[in-house]
Amino acid sequence: MTTTPYTSPIPVRRAHLGDAIASEWTKMRSLRSTLWTLGVMVVLVLGLGVLLAYAIGEASASPDAYEGGSVLTLGLLGMLLATVCVITLGVLTITSEFGTGMIRTTLTACPSRGRVLTAKAIVFFALVFVTTTLVSAFTAAAQCAVLGTTGGASAGQWIRVTVGVGLFMAFLGLLSLAVGALLRHSAGSITTMIGLVLLPYVLAIGLYTRELNDLRTALVEYSIPALLGTLYTGGPVGGMPMPSGWQPLWIIMGVTAVALAGAYTALDRRDA
């Protein structure tokens, strides 16, 4: 039974990370749920931001109240709700592959787990970063226009609430993606991430004794909503030696890096 092995006329070339990125981008844009989730996020941030600006503009007539860039903090409310969208999208990017069994097809087409995860992470990060940065900038500009003042916000503040927030949200999404890769279950991963966002507050209510006061404050200060808030306000809220300025970004980057490392190891070791 000697047969000449088949050779394909399609030119063979080694696939690389660029191919995987193109593939992940196709996957991302071909799903309606991506569009919906990001659409809801944009509407939430922009809509709530502008509504809030109107409401405040009606309430207080004096534009002087927004000195020191505090006008920019009005975007925080919408962005807090947007975290839910980003978390959902990040988790679903990976868990929907596990849920449908698509992951097996993907890994058959590209046996290098690392490349698949890297491509997913890059595409997702870029998408969220660009979307969030743009929508933050638009929202902030719209709010300033509604209130008729920029409140003298410095360039540094502007960069922090646009690029800074964009990066923070992208890393938060990446963290969700890593958690999704570790848990492989959509509902479980989303619940875990939402829990991660809200749990510090629930715990803080439970720790209602004076001795644990510091722990409680720390829990709240290092919670994700508070870190996001710090990026908007710029300073520690409670006047304690807590994260300020760009520090929230370094914190979430560290956490995400650890989770991603775990995801890489898990994807490589476990049976698909």
């Binding site: 394909s8 006329p9 399609i10 030119p11």
Partner: protein
């Protein structure tokens, strides 16, 4: 007994089932064949009154499905093995069906035993493999010990042992005088199971006849012959006005004559035979012949890329 009379179903402008009339009789296994999109599923759904016919009627033992008191005791159906709630255990899925038709609870354990699922009766059915889901669907069909049974692709996902089992089960149920109506795409499986065939294509009835008739009418049959005395044989046959065609593997093929006649003929001339057998085409060949032209998704031949040197050079 299931009687269809002028059954028609239109979805918008598309006619899925077109004036279909036939009777499924008890005491045998009736196979229901047709290419994808021929309207088989729609027909089966109308039989169970899940879809309302545009016109025409279906009668189950002379009555409309909706007039049946406790339908599971008349007719059991396996349409889609996944048509059960995955969050419920196998046992409870069957129990709620049994209760709705006043079938005693112990029957649930019995049918689970029967299909070999007792060990997983208390497991949620969403974790079942395809074969287990199929067995659960069969259990549901058997629940009311009905006189009429309908199976849509019953062997889907079953392993050979399971396929063997369901085949024998259906034959046995038919010998008990029940009406068995089975649809399947697996011709080789049908050939082993069904006694009678109903074939539809593009919603219209193409054939309603026994398996043997169907194969005979839709394909060639011939006699196959092997002998060490080929030339002598050819001469003998030629003298009787028969042409022997070379089959390629050393055998000869003769059209239009019975083995008996050829046997006698060759014995007269003392020809030594190594084989003398009647060949009938398979059900699959007969089916392909009949339904050619009634197929929806045509695949191309060949799988390799259709491009040639231009890409190689690129």
């Amino acid at each position: 007994m299931i009687e269809l009379e002028g059954l028609t179903k239109r979805f918008g402008t598309k006619t899925a089932v077109d004036r279909l009339s036939f009777t499924v009789r008890p005491g045998m296994v009736t196979g229901f064949l047709g290419p994808n999109g021929a309207g088989k599923s729609t027909t089966m759904r109308m039989m169970l009154d899940l879809d309302a016919p545009t016109s025409g009627t279906v009668r189950i033992d002379g009555r409309h499905y909706r007039e049946l008191d406790e339908p599971l005791k008349y007719i059991g159906a396996l349409l889609d093995a996944k048509a059960l709630h995955g969050g419920r255990t196998a046992y409870h899925n069957l129990l709620c069906l049994a209760q709705s038709n006043r079938i005693p609870e112990r029957r649930v354990g019995e049918v689970l035993d029967l299909v070999g699922l007792s060990a997983v009766a208390r497991k949620k059915s969403k974790n079942f493999s395809m074969g287990m889901g199929q067995r659960l669907g069969i259990a549901a069909a058997l629940l009311g010990d009905p006189r009429i049974l309908m199976f849509d692709e019953p062997v889907n996902g079953l392993d050979p042992e399971g396929i063997h089992w369901i085949r024998n089960l259906m034959k046995h149920l038919a010998t008990e005088g029940r009406t068995i109506f089975v649809s399947s795409h697996l011709m080789s499986e049908m050939a082993l199971t069904a006694d009678h065939l109903v074939v539809i294509g593009q919603g219209k009835l193409l054939a309603d006849m026994s398996m043997a008739d169907f194969i005979q009418r839709n394909s060639r049959s011939y006699v196959r012959l092997r002998t060490p005395q080929r030339e002598l044989t050819r001469d003998v046959l030629a003298s009787a006005g028969l042409t022997a065609v070379d089959a390629g593997d050393g055998a000869l093929e003769i059209d239009g004559e019975s083995t008996e006649r050829i046997g006698e003929l060759l014995a007269e001339h003392r020809v030594v035979l190594h084989e003398l057998s009647a060949q009938r085409a398979s059900l699959e060949e007969a089916f392909m012949q009949m339904t050619a032209g009634a197929v929806e998704y045509h695949a191309h031949d060949g799988a390799g890329p259709q491009w040639g040197a231009d890409v190689k050079g690129a």
